[in-house]
Symmetry: C2
Subunit: 405 residues, 2 copies
């Protein structure tokens, strides 16, 4: 699924490293992503009001350093959330340790992230002890980036990364990103971390704008189970080492090219998360068309995407359009059911709110694919929205009911 990385995919001026520091049993659980020089950084965080200590610390650091960051340090296996008065100092100590090992960088130039179990105390001394070692061993090799991508995994079955390139003023700009997450995923920042490094030169304000636009169309448009988490973070670091001119203004060709490349990375990572959704057999793409507004289209799409009855029907490759229509009907958005057309895997199954005769075996066969598009046309307006989810399988329940996850 992941593209094979070569040295030329890695943006200039970034290094990476990962190790097993002892929070997890015998797996990579600590990683760093470092820019040689302070990089313009934009980030978005969870919308859940239960916020983990590292999110609090990272928000402060971004503000203090005015979005000029040297790097990111991430541990997996423990979310450092709901950990009393010890949580926040642990996050600050982690950032400070990386800053010190990078040779006197200001601690506020480090983003610190955690992912894993909520409520268990973080053994921060294990992290601190490992930092000198990984700082020494960091490298710009593709293999080092891949190890970093592995170190941020939680219940993921595989690491997830993506690359993109664009041209700015005749020069090549590169982007590489990785993400974790496969449960507790829902629009508005889920249990999910994503980090994108690029050697573009761009102002903090413009980078923030580009990131927010991309995140809404990608990470905020996926859902595994409707549960949002306490640690979600997407950060992009742009260090300008490509030598390309600075991207200025949001109307020019440079910004368009860069945003398209950023969105391409975000889309690949978001779809990789859904593809690796806990227990998922297939990805369902829900497109609402003909809505009065994009907001109402998105609300309907999300209600369908989070309906256990719809998601279990897809697990059985059952073209049960009645469940899709009933979920739309309880979404809170008003529409005329007698105008609604629904297609599954390209075949019309419902016309004007009633069953449209279709070959059940043929649709069932098409629904066995890895990717199944669903289109609901309200025929009431011209707005649309697209949300991706996965089917709801026995495996999802197995993963999340095993005592204790």
């Amino acid at each position: 699924v992941n593209p094979r990385l070569s040295a030329s995919d890695i943006p200039a001026g970034f290094t990476f490293a990962a190790t097993h520091c002892g929070i997890k049993r015998a797996r990579l659980d600590l990683g760093i992503l470092v820019s040689d020089t302070p990089a313009t950084t934009a980030a978005v965080f969870t919308t859940n009001q239960i916020v983990a200590a590292p999110v609090v610390a990272s928000r402060e650091h971004l503000r203090k350093s005015r979005g000029q960051m040297r790097g990111v340090i991430v541990n997996s296996g423990n979310a450092n959330c709901c950990t009393k008065q010890d949580g926040y100092p642990a996050s600050i100590a982690t950032a400070s340790k990386l800053a010190a090992e990078l040779g006197g960088t200001d601690p506020s130039q480090v983003i610190v992230c955690s992912t894993g179990v909520i409520g268990a105390p973080l053994r921060v001394e294990k992290i601190l002890a490992a930092v000198p070692h990984i700082v020494l061993n960091r490298s710009a090799e593709p293999g080092a980036f891949e190890e970093f991508a592995r170190a941020i995994m939680t219940t993921d079955t595989r690491p997830k990364w993506a690359t993109a390139r664009c041209r700015v003023g005749g020069k090549q700009v590169r982007l590489v990103g990785c993400a974790n997450g496969s449960g507790m995923i829902e629009p508005n920042m889920a249990t999910m971390l994503a980090f994108i490094a690029t050697d573009a030169a761009i102002s903090p304000k413009l980078l923030d704008r580009a990131l927010r636009a991309c995140v809404n169309r990608t990470f905020n448009s996926i859902t595994v189970d409707g549960d949002t988490s306490t640690n979600d973070t997407v950060a992009v670091l742009a260090n300008g080492h490509s030598g390309a001119r600075e991207i200025r203004g949001s109307s020019g060709a440079d910004y368009k090219a860069f945003t398209a490349a950023l969105e391409s990375v975000c889309t690949s990572l978001a779809l990789a998360i859904i593809d690796d959704g806990e227990g998922a057999q297939r990805t369902i793409e829900i497109e609402i068309r003909g809505a009065a507004s994009e907001k109402s289209a998105r609300q309907i799409a999300k209600t369908i995407a989070n309906s256990p009855l719809v998601k279990t029907a897809f697990a059985g490759a059952d073209p049960n359009w009645g469940r899709i229509l009933a979920a739309a009907g309880r979404s809170g958005v008003k529409f005329d059911p007698r105008r609604v057309n629904i297609s599954i895997a390209g075949m019309t199954v419902c016309r004007r709110g009633c069953e449209h005769p279709f070959d059940e075996r043929a649709v069932h066969q098409k629904m066995l694919a890895k990717h199944v598009p669903v289109r609901v046309d309200l025929r009431a307006g011209s707005a649309s929205a697209r949300v991706w989810t996965c089917d709801f399988t026995v495996e999802y329940v197995h993963i999340n009911s095993s005592y204790r996850t």
Copy 2:
């Protein structure tokens, strides 16, 4: 689970019957509940905007007859929903047939209900052919009521009924009710039918008030999967045959006694539905305390009750309080996480938003019970709300992903 019914449990002046008319294979699929004389009737219907034809017909009939109904006719196995132009005439024909067989009753004095598959054409001729037969065979025997309760089952594993009595002016008033439903259940009328017969005498306005109050605290406070259906109906028929004086005014002892009895029947039926929730092993009672308002308490309770991660944790009897707190945190209600206390099965697991040391094995053992209470205290106000749900098991997925349900 159901109480054993005796002849003295059945309110005076009601008869019941059921048969297999051929919509389902070899199981009861048609039932009637008839009052000897027009009964004051109140009903609430689904809030889903996809509304089945029988709901449209029954709403009209209640309006036309000013809430004076002779009876109810119900088929299972087919929801008569999204069935093009044929659905509504089929419901009207069904009501008219029962009215005619009852000897020239006005068709608008009949409530008609359907439950089952959405979108498949209803073979109404099978229903019409069976009506004369069940009208002839109706009876006031407890066994006839039990058969009626069986005839309205869909994916239920067992019929559900409840009884209550109260005294009005020294005379005994009786109530008997039954319900179906085990999936697509969520507050605000789920895939659920419930019918309650009573020989109390009460005005339509007062009966409506009593029913709405009871439904909010009972049927609207349960959720299996957050999916609401297109056919939900709760109706209560009060024919006055007890000989007790008419209940007048909502402040007197008569109204209080009657409402308590009605709520008792509704509570028993609502909990029986959760107990029979698709694939459910146990009932979870979620109580939010110390909230600023009942509305916000209910919103938090419902978000927790519909969280797949919380529900799967309970399937594994896993005291994963972090998922409960994270679900509360995304509910849209503002609160201070650092004040929150959580107990599971009576044992404190979270204090002031952090883990409170507890004996994991002991809590796990207690969570293996059939009924597990969860209490979340926000310590911010004095309002509270209670919602019941069930755990999310592998069986739920099996039931709902089998091709075709």
